[in-house]
């Protein structure tokens, strides 16, 4: 499949009097395929927005290469087929939703009021088209933002925190819209902190930390390796320890809890417990979540981070 976004050692360096040279984005190699929803994740200050701005040609890379839809970043022709929804954008408040779309449409040299109306209908704002933007709620502003990002029928959409600060209903509406973009064959590049949302809609993700890609791949692959928690009763400690060789054993008041990787032979554990006249109280599979992967990745990339978190009472 062709690459919608491809970067090779893309780097952005800022100079500061106090800190000297800082690589906000450092030799970033990113690969996003056409037609997929790609999640771009990272803690605050990891370099997500800087990367997006470089891909959009709003800021210039210090070195490295970047290609968007096969063209070098900054190529004005690409701007006809991409769109961007920034994090918490401000729109001209004096305009109505309809006027706002007409304004953005005119930036493409178009004048198509019918299209503006259709897009407002698509984002469920047709009834509020004549309200000014300052009368819109956060969710409505985000939806009108999505509508403006569809004006040019883009092949690639950059969405920066598209569901940030929205209520659950607005969350769901935006999520459904994003999923419909993929159904239409568009590529969606999402930068987000809402890991549960990303997990629900993204095909592939990249985790960026301190300007570098810490992990990148298909979600199904990255989230392999869940665990199973088995609660056991009526067996002695020696047997419990023997069973725990592939996992971790926790003492409970009336038994043991065995925490083991899902790829371990669970049937063998069950058979052994039964033959020892013990009983299995519960067996709970724990799927690996994106949040686990994210925390694990960021900690692994931050030497000394885990003990510090533990000392502060964190997970």
């Amino acid at each position: 499949m062709a690459a919608a976004i491809e970067t090779k050692k893309l780097t952005k360096t800022y100079r500061s009097r106090q800190l000297g040279k800082i690589n906000v984005v450092n030799e970033l190699d990113l690969h996003v395929e056409e037609g997929e929803i790609f999640g771009f994740l990272g803690p605050n200050g990891a370099g997500k927005t800087t990367t997006i701005k470089m891909l959009l040609g709003i800021i210039y890379p210090t070195h490295g290469e970047g290609y968007v839809l096969g063209r070098e970043i900054g190529d004005m022709d690409v701007h006809r087929v991409i769109s961007y929804l920034p994090e918490r954008p401000y729109y001209y408040e004096h305009m109505t939703g309809f006027e706002l779309l007409k304004f953005y449409d005119s930036l493409f040299g178009n004048h198509d009021p019918d299209k503006c109306q259709r897009l407002l209908e698509r984002v469920n704002l047709a009834g509020d088209a004549s309200k000014t933007i300052n009368q819109y709620s956060k969710g409505m502003q985000q939806r009108v933002g999505l509508a403006q990002s569809l004006l040019n029928d883009p092949k690639l959409l950059f969405l920066d925190e598209p569901t940030g600060g929205l209520d659950p209903i607005a969350h769901r509406e935006i999520r459904d819209l994003i999923l419909s973009f993929r159904d239409e064959g568009r590529t969606v590049f999402i930068s987000s902190h809402e890991l549960s949302e990303v997990e629900l809609i993204c095909d592939r993700v990249a985790i960026i930390h301190k300007g570098e890609i810490a992990r990148q791949g298909r979600l199904t692959e990255l989230l392999k390796g869940g665990r199973i928690e088995i609660t056991l009763q009526g067996i002695d400690e020696g047997l419990a320890r023997k069973l725990a060789t592939g996992g971790t054993l926790h003492n409970l008041s009336d038994g043991y809890m065995l925490d083991m990787p899902e790829e371990e032979d669970v049937n063998a554990v069950v058979d052994t417990v039964r033959s020892a006249k013990g009983s299995i109280v519960s067996m709970v599979p724990r799927k690996k979540r994106l949040e686990d992967l994210f925390v694990e990745t960021v900690r692994a990339a931050t030497p000394g981070a885990a003990p510090k978190l533990a000392a502060e009472g964190g997970v």
Binding site: G57, M76, D77, P86, H94
Partner: protein, 262 residues
Amino acid sequence: MNAIWAIASSTVGEAIRRKVLLVILLIALLLLSIIPALGVLSARSEMSAMISTIFFVIRFTSALIAIILTIYMIPNEIERRTIYTILCKPVQRWQFLLGKYFGAVLALALMMGIMTALSLVMFWFLKHPDASKMAEVAKQPILYLVEMSLLAAIAIFFSTFVAPLVNFFISTGLWLVGTVLNPLYDSFATNPQTAPIMKTMAKLITSILPNFANYDVKNPILHPGVVIQNEASYYLKTVGYGFMYIAILLILGIVVFDRREV
């Protein structure tokens, strides 16, 4: 051209809704409407006192509007991230800057037009002047508009790389210095005690700085003794000087803004 026009018209829409600008305009209109009552306080003829006060109010408030309108234009767009939704479309930075500038000039023209219209109506009703006097009074605000367009170009140039507050002082300072450049230069040039090096320096500085003094024409009603030999040529030169200066400032602004990290 479409993009420049779209940005310019949205800028006008935003400018005419900015409360601070509307308050300044309202105060100006209030001042203009009470000018006839001030005539009795002046030792000069009532008509010349009225005209000079009208010109002063229009010029001063227009300068204030021009500066306040333009110093926030680019920084606000960056701070509110609106610029990203525009620059990710097929809009070049130079188009964005020109759109903002032309929008500011249109908004200025609108506000100055309202002030001028009120002044002319009042002048007509109170003094019943003949057509030539009306034309004399009507000409001055046109030059003021060129002057304010130049001031807006200065402010928008600096707004591409300095903070609004700093820009306010720079733009205001340049305008104030620019309004006294001619008398300043004359005092240096005609004083026999001035050292030649000082004269050269004065000439250099007055050539580089924008000369706003040229736009305050010695109106024949106010200064009957001052005669402009070739009025058409003077007006053309003054307007041409303004346009040339504006073009240079906009080109410099585009160069700076093009490389700026937003």
